[in-house]
Amino acid sequence: MLEIEDLKVYFRTNAGIVKAVDDVSFEVRKGENFTIIGESGSGKSVLAQAILRLLPKNAEICGRIIFNGKDLLKLSEKEMRRIRGKEIAWIPQSQTSLNPVLNVGFQCAEPLMEHFRMDKKSAFARIIRIFEFLGIGGNRIREYPHQFSGGMRQRVLVAMGISADPKLIIADEPTKGLDASKRSQIVELFRKIGDKTMLIITHDINFAENLADRIAVMYCGKIVEVSPAKEFFREPLHPYSRGLLDSLPSRGLKPIKGFQPSMINPPKGCRFRERCEFAREICKDEPPLISLNGRFVRCWLYDRGNWD
């Protein structure tokens, strides 16, 4: 359904080149829920924006993004516009993508009217159904974004993303700012439209555990692990994945020591090296992607031949 091969996204800045996504390859299968978790600032949102070709002007992108047999990077802007919203829906991370001068109902209904030529009444009826499912009264549909609370705006973004019945949903932190019951409503909503293929980015471990089929872990522009969800939560492979799960508040709020390395001059070899308790001399070389019973991990620890 969606295949990403050797994708690189670099940003030119005054301080140097930010390698936000560096040689990333993965595949999202049809009907699957593929969830990306990982360090803040590791390039997850940039990856999503690259798939939709919505990157700012200072970005350079290369590699292949194959969606249903077409390489999205080769399409014209016009063809791309037809794919956005209709075939691939995007639930952006940033609430700034809501237009402050249009009421929320109209913003959600607009893609329906545009892509599916729905009339205004049925489009609004559909939006109201989604809103009410997510716990926003239908009578508030004509209000403006600033009149909504943070969590309500987040639900508007979700409603806007899924209303158009797309083939692939890319959701960037769809549950941020929501309480537990609203989160489970979103899980339920995503299950309902479950035959859809989904690429989800989240920091919400419970959400990932409930919904994901496969988990990918991103660290400093690279994907360091891809595992089926069940096995991942039973036993994460990569040292970063382990550290991440250990810093859950319920497990004592123990952060991994240190902070993410610079994306302009990342450390050579394994980028997690400076924070890893297992690091050895060999980790100064780029670790290979190792396949282990259908799981993938980028770490020397699992290269039996070289590690021991």
Partner: protein, 271 residues
């Protein structure tokens, strides 16, 4: 770069250059030569001559100077005035906003040109004939659209969280208005100003045509058309060339304005 922008900018630059170079490439626009009255366009007089035998090419070029200069003055004054009034009204709200809002409504209800004509009439009666009458009259009607747009932008900016955050770190009201709110509303205002330049040029020409604008012998397009209309069958170039230049400059500003709107709006979408 956007194609509309480039075309519009090209036309405007051409006008500006022609206007600036008028003293160099054009002859004396005031020199009458009764022997050469109503000559059709020729090598000697590219646009022909008028009823007093003045070279029309020179007059049209000098006319560009007048129109652009007067329009720019009007736009700058009404923009500053309108933006400040609109921003204050939208930002501080309350009773100030109510009063200014009412005034804006009243102004919008009166047809602009009619209002202008009346104003110029009054000023002429009071202070005698001068170009400042035109400027003042057009400014009085023109600031309204700036005030209205700025007020709307500021109202929506005021709800944006970064304004609240500035307040939270202890910034004063005027500081927030000047450092955060106004700079963020510049984009749409620039678009408006560009589109508005076209309108102002039209208004000046209309007033000129009615004999209420900039007075002869200063060359001005509207007034030239007025003078040429009596000869429209025998010497059509007298109305054609000034008309062409009016149309071109209005077109130029409109294209540039539309182009800028495209660029600015698209950018805010991606960001």
């Amino acid at each position: 770069m956007n194609r509309l922008c480039v075309t519009g900018l090209g036309i405007i630059l051409l006008m500006v250059i022609l206007g600036l170079l008028a003293p160099l490439i054009a002859k004396n626009p005031y020199k009458t030569d009764l022997k050469d009255r109503l000559e059709p366009p020729s090598l000697k007089h590219p646009f022909g001559t008028d009823q007093l035998g003045r070279d029309l090419f020179s007059r049209v070029l000098w006319g560009a100077r007048t129109s652009l200069f007067v329009a720019l003055t009007i736009s700058l004054i009404s923009m500053s005035l309108g933006c400040i009034i609109g921003a204050v009204s939208g930002y501080f709200g309350g009773i100030i906003d109510d009063i200014i809002g009412r005034i804006i409504d009243v102004f919008l209800a009166i047809p602009e040109l009619v209002f202008n004509i009346a104003l110029v009439g009054i000023f002429c009666a009071a202070y005698g004939v001068s170009t400042w009458n035109v400027i003042l009259a057009v400014v009085i009607t023109n600031w309204v659209s700036y005030a209205r747009i700025t007020r709307g932008i500021v109202l929506s900016l005021k709800e944006r969280e970064f304004v609240l955050c500035a307040k939270a770190i202890g910034a004063g009201e005027w500081y927030i208005l000047l450092r955060h709110v106004i700079p963020n509303s510049i984009g749409p205002i620039v678009v408006l100003a560009t589109l508005n330049m076209g309108n102002v040029i039209m208004t000046i020409a209309s007033l000129g045509f009615l004999g209420l604008g900039i007075q002869p012998p200063t060359p001005e397009w509207g007034q030239m058309i007025n003078a040429g209309k009596d000869y429209i069958t025998t010497a059509p170039w007298l109305t054609f060339f000034p008309g062409l230049f009016i149309a071109l400059s209005v077109l130029g500003f409109n294209l540039l304005g539309e182009g800028l709107r495209d660029v600015l709006e698209r950018r805010s979408f991606i960001e």
